[in-house]
Amino acid sequence: MKVPFPPRQSQSQSQRRRIRNRRQCCAVLCLIPFLFFPSLRFYYNSSSTKGNRHKIMSDKGGKGGKSALKSPAYKGKDDNSAKLKGRKVQFDSEDLYDDKFDTNENGKSNGKDDTSFSKGGKGDKGGKAGKGSAKKEPPPLLLKVEQELPENAKCLMDCEAAQILQGIQEHMVLLSKDPTIKIPSSFDRALQYANRGNHYTNPQSARLVLESLKDQGLSDGEMCVIANTAVESVGEAFGLMPSLKAKKSKVKEPLRSALTELEKLKNVAESTKKAIVLD
């Protein structure tokens, strides 16, 4: 007796083969965008975990599993184009995370990795770089003097410090007679250094001249550098302090007149030393 139709088992096998082939094609199609756009791997984590769950079920289960597999496969096929479109739209906004998520090879990672990576990014850049706003810019090199010193700290010019330490040294002469009292070596060195940086006969007058530059936006630190290094020209001041260059147009003329005033206040020893060098 001839069997008009092929047996049911062979039909289901071919069907199964067709389904398997379709699934493989779908998988390949799904992988292609990830090859070109690695950032999408992360974005589709949630959907991939769902897919994995279904796969596990299919491995364990029988027909139920198969039927469960069918639906997502079809859905996947139907939605592929939509998802691809969706991916195109969404990955543009996710582009910024490319650098961070390149190292994430685990496709099964969830949203938790988002936060950990973002936190890591912040940590790498430091708290001062801003909260996630400048991701690719190098962290700015900030002078943390204000954080390191108390708020009531006051800058002293070398000539001012020399005046203070000189007064203290006169009293210390009395102590030198007592062998048990040790005068710290740092005091002598600091005094020697301050005296070497003392270019002006009257520190108060020098301070008054430089205070006039405060209205032009000069900071105390910049004023102290000008006083301590006995800057002679405006060009030298701009060369030593790049921060001053930014205010060049505003500061040039007042700085020139202040330097002329400071020249008059300089010590006699300084001016003779200059004369010898010029000769």
């Binding site: 002078l143 003097v145 204000e146 390191e148 010193l149 108390p150 009531n152 700290a153 006051k154 800058c155 002293l156 010019m157 070398d158 001012e160 410090a161 005046q163 203070i164 330490l165 007064g167 203290i168 009293h171 210390m172 009395l174 102590l175 007679k177 007592d178 048990t180 009292i181 710290p184 070596s185 740092s186 005091f187 060195r189 600091a190 020697q192 250094y193 301050a194 070497r196 940086g197 520190p203 108060q204 301070r207 205070e211 900071s219 105390d220 630190g221 910049e222 004023m223 102290c224 550098v225 301590n228 290094t229 030298e236 060369g239 030593l240 302090m241 030393k273 010898i276 060098v277």
Partner: protein
């Protein structure tokens, strides 16, 4: 001798009060000397209690603090005044009394990016060491201009090819600090003279 020290302490405090510190600026950007207010808890043995308690406390503070170094404030060069001495608290079990003391002092601290003048103390093929107050600075040969070469001998030095500029022991140089390191007792810096307007200010020969 203790009376001598106590009288010195009084003189110091009175001197600092008479100093017009109002001329000091209120900024704090990259500068060596600072005038700041610090606080410290001082422990005093009961044998020092009496009418000279305050002077004893101040003299102990000076012995403990002056000449010390910390990463935050740098070298404490000298105490210029006492702002406030708080109420003493007796420590359980010992009998010592702790007094919170607020004091003004001159501190000496280098910062990165600072320009300063230093005296060369040693020269070798790796670079040269210089001193600015109590701070030691090392300038590597990589941060010395390329036209200066090391010359060994009795007086090792760095000299330009035409011999016009020489860096040797006791030379004064202007340098920029690019890094700092703080130990328990000292601050060590790395400097450069490769930028504009940096380098030798005077040779030991011209100054003598």
């Amino acid at each position: 001798m203790s009376l001598l020290y106590d009288s010195f302490v009084l003189l110091r405090i009175n001197h600092s009060l008479s100093l017009d510190l109002s001329f000091c600026g209120s900024g704090n950007l990259g500068k060596m000397f600072f005038h700041i207010v610090l606080e410290r808890n001082m422990q005093l043995h009961p044998r020092h209690f009496g009418r000279d308690l305050r002077e004893k406390l101040v003299s102990k503070l000076m012995k403990d603090v002056e000449g010390t170094c910390s990463g935050r404030h740098g070298f404490v060069v000298a105490i210029t005044g006492i702002e406030n001495v708080g109420k003493g608290l007796i420590r359980d079990g010992t009998g010592f009394v702790t007094f919170p003391v607020k004091y003004q002092c001159v501190v000496f601290r280098p910062f990165k990016g600072e320009i300063l003048e230093a005296v060369v103390t040693m020269v070798n093929k790796m670079g040269f060491f210089a001193e600015a107050g109590p701070v030691q600075i090392f300038v590597s040969n990589h941060l010395i201009p390329d036209d200066m070469e090391f010359q060994s001998g009795d007086m090792p030095n760095y000299t330009t090819s035409d011999g016009s500029v020489k860096i040797q022991k006791d030379s004064e140089v202007r340098l920029k600090i690019i890094g700092t390191r703080v130990d328990a007792t000292e601050i060590f810096c790395i400097g450069t003279i490769k930028d504009d307007f940096l380098g030798v200010i005077s040779d030991p020969g011209t100054t003598s």
